[in-house]
């Protein structure tokens, strides 16, 4: 049986809009965690729909590692400008300068884990009581067990065993001072659902999702984008190739796939035929079998 799915199930959109409206109603200061990736772009469209003809009642928060793809930042600024959104940026570099976070060393150094420090500081500084994220349960097995309203303690920690049961569509966002909630409106979407949604809604996405020529190196059987942020060894010689990115994180933790796909239809075809899962291209998940659960316990989204 083929697993071809070319249609977006509209019930998922109704559910996500319902969740966003609950978030606006149950919390005082929510924010959308915006990375410039396709999932957070989808969130922005859903928020537009949820409150139209009103404005989106929350700002976007971008935790900038300083290691982003320039194309992502360019796209972010264009989106914010064209939709008239409020954007708040907090920098990992500042956390490093303040001595709150320490740069990793070695050839696998990445600022991915450091983001958590900056995020938690921003939540405290800006008094956000709900942070809306684009995580999906199909991404990874610890995520598969997380709630739609996921309560974090004062230190941002996730306690997998103390989660509130979520029944029917009833969401309990009641929290004590200092606690906050991570909200995941597209929990029940799959990677394919997101792509089909982007296609049906004709959403703009950063150019790096499409095939382009780029300098890469090969390491551990994966193609890494060559950049000044990547610590390379002498044997790792960059070469040019046609690639695209299936997921967009930092330049130090997102692997490229060799691809000629330059249209959404081709991307969807490619995903349908893919042998590797989406997070298989995330170097940050490869650290251990429970990498995601451990990061979540520490406050990661």
């Amino acid at each position: 049986m083929s697993s071809i799915q070319w249609q977006f199930p509209r019930a998922l959109e109704d559910e996500a809009i319902y969740i966003l409206r609950e978030t606006a109603a149950q919390f005082e200061r929510p924010a959308i965690l915006f990375s410039g990736g396709k999932d957070s772009i989808t969130l922005v469209r859903l928020a537009q729909k949820a409150f139209y003809p009103g404005k989106i009642p929350f700002p976007l928060l971008h935790v900038d590692t300083g290691h982003n793809f320039p194309e992502t930042i360019e796209f972010r600024d264009w989106l914010v400008e064209s939709l008239g959104l409020e954007l708040i940026v907090r920098n990992v570099q500042d956390s490093i300068n303040q001595g709150k976070a320490k740069e990793e060393t070695g050839k696998y150094a990445s600022r991915n884990a450091l983001q958590t420090v900056t995020l938690l500081d921003a939540i405290e500084e800006l008094k956000f009581d709900a942070c809306i994220g684009g995580a999906r349960r199909d991404e990874e097995k610890a995520r598969a067990k997380e709630r739609i309203f996921s309560v974090r303690d004062e230190f941002g920690q996730w306690n997998a065993k103390m989660q509130r049961p979520e029944l029917f569509d009833m969401l309990n966002g009641k929290i004590n001072i200092g606690e906050n909630v991570r909200v995941f409106p597209i929990s029940n979407w799959t990677e394919l659902d997101v792509w089909n949604y982007i296609r049906e809604e004709e959403l703009a996405i950063p150019s790096i999702y499409f095939s382009h020529e780029r300098e890469i190196i090969e390491r551990d059987g994966m193609y890494w984008p060559f950049s000044p942020y990547l610590n390379t060894t002498e044997e790792e010689v960059p070469f040019r190739s046609k690639v695209r990115f299936r997921t967009v994180g930092d330049m130090t933790c997102t692997a490229a796939v060799l691809s000629e796909a330059d249209k959404l239809e081709d991307i969807i075809e490619e995903i349908l035929a893919a042998k590797i899962s989406e997070r298989g291209a995330r170097i940050d998940d490869k650290r251990s079998e429970a990498a995601m659960e451990k990061r979540k316990q520490a406050g990661y989204f």
Binding site: M1, P9, Q48, A50, K55, A144, V151, P165, A290
Partner: protein, 415 residues
Amino acid sequence: MDVLRITTSGSVDDGKSTLIGRLLYDTKSITQDKMEALQAASKRKGLDFTDLSLLTDGLIAEREQGITIDVAHIYFSTPNRKYIIADTPGHFEYTRNMVTGASTAQVSLILIDARKGIVEQTYRHFFIACMLRIPHLVVCINKMDLVEYDEARYNQIVEDFQQLLPGSLYEGKEVKCIPISSLYGENVVTRTEKISWYKGLPLLEFLEEIQFDRNDRNHPARFPIQYVIRPKTEQFHDFRGFAGKIASGSFSVGDTIVSLPNEQKSKIKSIEKFGEQLQDAHAGESVVITLEDEIDISRGNLLVKEGQSQPEGLREVKAQICWMDQNKLTPGKTYLLQHGPTRIKSKVQQITSVTEVTTNRIEEKTEMGLNDIGRIVLKTAQPVFADKYGTNPANGTFILVDEFSNATVAVGFIE
């Protein structure tokens, strides 16, 4: 494309996770890297086959103990529909998770180990399916390979299971039984010669053909207001839209509505979705409704249609509940009753009875603790505009929230 939600339940070791792994594997929903990780993990555990159950056990503690602790959501698609499986644990102490996983399901899939037949857990799962009024029930008699694909054994279990039906929600309805081996993928997605005496459809084919007409659409119309949209921009200066998801029934432009609790009336001027004007909208749709008149409506109001049955404002709520918190229910203590977008103070006046779910025996108990299912009477500070769960499920449930810990401590079904 529609979405079919399934809840699975089984006992420890009856192969539930393997079955789900099998559904994913045979519908090609597992990618190569996940498969390789699975093979490596199986090898580390000293197994000589690929343990598909490792796919769903995501938390560290689960992998250590080889059990499922929490509700996991698993997704796969066929060209026909998208499936969401809520995989819930089969341990008796996790009844609350089974209820949680079952709450959104249209199909309850019960697994029975062909060697063991009906066990205590089977009764519990059946009880929960009845309590939640899940429209479709499918019973998979698994591990047929371990009973030499014996038809007589299968028939005996089916007969035993059918003894549960009289007097229940499923009396007179089709309850599908399927002999399978999830380990070898027999009768899950593809048929097998080894069970040639079984003439019915394999599991997936059966799921593909389930017709679930959204019952909610035939129920009286209910629209709980989540959020009021007032843009106050030049273009939409006087716009006042009521945003929400239709809980049950349908609304059309021109319908006369009654807003509860204040009982004010108006007519629907427009039904909108991101600027698109709709003539009507149905249960499950998130929309914005505008009215002809300026009446006082805010979050928590419930719009119903004139001429249809209306929920009476309950000050005393009788309900069947499942208690979900470590701390016992304390009669007389204030709990917040959350029904749709409303939260109302309430007190448990009385625990009427507690049901021993594995025997369906009603006990006279005065206390309820974690995983207990029983009947209570609540007194509320304001009227609750709910329907009986049995007549309109979408407007017949609530949760109880602890005022201090903020935990969701119970789910209730109004009677």
